[in-house]
Each structure stands twice: as C-alpha cells, then as structure tokens.
Symmetry: C2
Subunit: 248 residues, 2 copies
C-alpha cells in the first residue's frame, strides 16, 4: 500500500483530524498536480531494469494453477496492453525518484529493517504469494493470490484479515497507477466463502470512478473457474500527488 501523502495527513491529524476523512493540508489542491499520464506512471513504477528483488516471480511454492495462469498473463503482456507490476520489499523502493508530497517527520522506523506487510514473510510460500497484472488502457487489474500456511484463520483456511490485506494492497497499487490515489479512506469487505490455504484465488479489480479527490475501486475474489466467489469488496482512495525529486 502506498500512502505516503497520508503520512503528512496523519501528522496534521495529530492536531485534529477532520470528521469523515483525513485532514488535507491547507492550500493543497488535490487536483493541481496530477499532470502525469497513466503510461508515464506505469513506466516509472514498473521498472524494467533494477537491482531490487522482485517478489512477484514464480517460486517452488506456487501451485500448478497459479503457475499456469501466471504464464497466460505473461504472454498477454507481450501483445496486449497488460503489464506485470513488480513487487519490492518496501514502498520506499516503489517511489524512488519521487518526492513525498509534504515535509515528513523522520520516524524511528526509518532506521529499522522494515518490510511491506505483504512481503514480510521471508520463506517462499509461507505468507502472501501474489502477482498483479494491470491493463493500462482499460484501467483494470488481475491479481493471482495463493495464501500460505502462516495466513491461517479458520483451521485450513485463509484469515479474513489476510484477504482484506490483499484487497487493500492491490487497490493501493492500482489507485496509484490510474490517478495517484495514495491514501486508503475506506474498505468494505464481504466474505462469501473460505479460501483453502495453498490454493489459487483470482482477484479481479476494477476502477469504478475517478473523481477530483477520490478514486473508487471494487474487487471480486473467486476461484479460477469462477464457480466460487470468496470475497466482494470496494474501497475509496484519496488522491495526493508525488512530485519530482528524491524522497528524503
């Protein structure tokens, strides 16, 4: 989840948060700086050459269903308008070359070994295995997700919190790419069926509406054959621009 702009909103919120949402710094027009196209955000975000480890690559833990669907989508990136979104250890790696919207406090965590929550489990297959494909012109995405044994809720099945996490994480990446949506304002999750640990769940994410200040998204998580719906969800993100320049 990229919510760097919200850091500042959070700091202002320590003085007093506005009812109904985070405080926006005075004088900042949320629409004033969305000058980049989706294409330019994609090319910046989806680094083709980097020394960073991309966690969204197949490993020995992936089930055959996940591997084969991954290959299908990878083929589509060659001829269609799909791109594979890389996944790094931290959102700091994703916003390289961009400056956070506001002057930010240095937190104690800045010096620690932090990890993006969805990449926090280090052994392959233990936690979140996933890869996101984004269709640039249609502004939609597919995420292939395989919950590992450390994401358990009901014995044998993925915890509802892990599904909410995947929804928030995929929403945040897509919200950024389509319109610099950086801050999760709300999530609504409806659980329909449990997802067995180790199996493939397919997430279809759509952008419902892009407003001046907000982006509305929705997501359905289901089995590959679409016979079982696991989760239906929606979310709203606040748009806040990143700027050219190095992050602090």
């Amino acid at each position: 989840m990229i919510r760097t702009g919200f850091q500042a909103a959070a700091r202002l919120g320590h003085r007093r948060a506005l009812p109904g949402g985070p405080r926006i710094p005075p004088g900042l027009s949320s629409t004033s700086a969305f000058g980049y196209s989706v294409d330019s955000r994609v090319s910046r975000f989806c680094l083709q050459k980097t020394e960073l480890k991309d966690y969204a690559l197949p490993n020995a833990s992936w089930c055959p269903d996940m591997l084969s669907l991954y290959q299908e989508f990878l083929e589509k990136t060659k001829t269609d308008d799909w791109v594979k979104i890389p996944s790094f250890k931290s959102n700091k790696d994703h916003i390289r070359g961009l400056k956070l919207p506001f002057e930010l406090a240095v937190t104690s965590a800045d010096t620690e070994d932090t990890r993006l929550f969805t990449r926090g489990f280090q052994a392959d297959g233990q936690g979140f295995e996933y890869v996101i494909f984004f269709h640039v012109s249609q502004k939609k995405a597919v995420c292939l997700f395989q919950p590992g044994p450390y994401l358990e809720g009901t014995p044998g099945f993925a915890h509802g919190g892990s599904l909410s996490t995947m929804v928030d994480e995929t929403f945040s990446k897509i919200a950024y790419l389509v319109g610099e949506g950086l801050v999760t304002l709300s999530l609504n999750i409806r659980f329909k069926n449990l997802i067995p640990l180790g199996s493939l769940a397919v997430m279809n994410i759509d952008v419902e509406k892009i407003e001046d200040q907000k982006i509305h998204l929705c997501c359905v998580i289901q089995s590959r054959d679409q016979q079982t719906v696991y989760v239906k969800s929606s979310g709203v993100f606040l748009r806040l621009p990143l700027e050219e320049g190095l992050s602090p």
Copy 2:
C-alpha cells in the same frame, strides 16, 4: 479469527453460495444450540492452565506505553469483571474439546505447520504484538496493539491491511465469546490517521447487537490519550455453535 463453522459453509458454497451471505446447511437452526453462557465460554476459552504458549504476554519489544497499560488492565482482572484472553499459535488450540459444527473435509493444510495469521511472525516485535482484555458482563473489549516493522504500508507506518486484520481478529474472538459468532460476514473499515510502527494503538471493541443469527460489532482504534483516531470500523458475524466433543 475463528470461523470453523464457515468451513462447512464454504464447502457447501462450492456447490453454490447464497447471494448476500454464506450458505447455511439445511436444517441447521442457528439459534438451536447456543445453550452456553458467556461465563462458560470464557472459562473454556481462557484456559488458566495449559502447556500451550500464550503469545499475549509482554516481551522485550513492547513499548513502555503498552507495558504500563497492560499492567493497568491486568490489575483490573483481579477485582473487576475483566479477563485477559490468551492467544495461541492456532485457532485449533482455542477450540480444544469442542467439535466443529459439521463434518469437515480434511484439507492438505491440516498436515502442515500452519499459524494463526496474527501470530505468524516468529520473532518478538516483528509483526503483531497485541493482547485482548474482555469485560464479561458489559460485553466489551480492549485490545492493546503495537504494529512491528514487518507490517509496513506507507514507509514508517502500519499497513491498512494489518489494521483490518487486527479488527477482524479481535471481533472474531469477542463475537465467539458473547454469542458463538464464528464467521465474519462483513467488515467496514474507515481510516482516519496512520499509526506509526512501534507505537501503541488502543482498540475499543463494543458489541452493538446480538440477533438470532448475527452479531454486530464496532471498534475504534486510537492513541492512548484518545487525541488521535486512527480507524473506525464495524463488522457482522454469523452465529454457528460449536458442540461438545473432540474436534476431528
């Protein structure tokens, strides 16, 4: 999250899930077997003597704020109607001595080293540090939560998914204790401010309504001084009884 009854609902759902919610097995009246009192559920759930490791105990990673508030609530358990809820590695440990509602399929995960999602990070302080206190007669709870550096979203702050996870996890424990609420039907999360990694967040959970089939809960997450609201949320759980007898 305890959602054992939902396992069967999930299996039935593979045939076809009902619109708007999980399928309830035919002939099961959700109110037919809620014969236990809250007290009896608490005494069974909060094992006083067990060889199981309780993860809801202080360790060196806890910040001073978390430690001092923990001690305050621990004092209250001696004279007031508060109880400390233990936290084991798996929900299988929590439902010992009880039988799951329906015949359950053996999943491949049953033989794996699985972990409750919120206890999946093994080193103290890396992931979710939390402890839940429950007020038996007032049916409310407080959870002290300290997000570790592996729960990062925005650099330096807790991922929205980790907050949704804590909401689901605390809701599920309370929903079970007050009325055998086992299955998360929906969660609604509104984010107000970011929570710095390593700091204390205090969650106040209330039971809003107990219906024949559903339990409605709400939660506010805020700073200890109550000056900063981080999250407001609500959730609905389906009631399904566990039965006497050993789980398969």
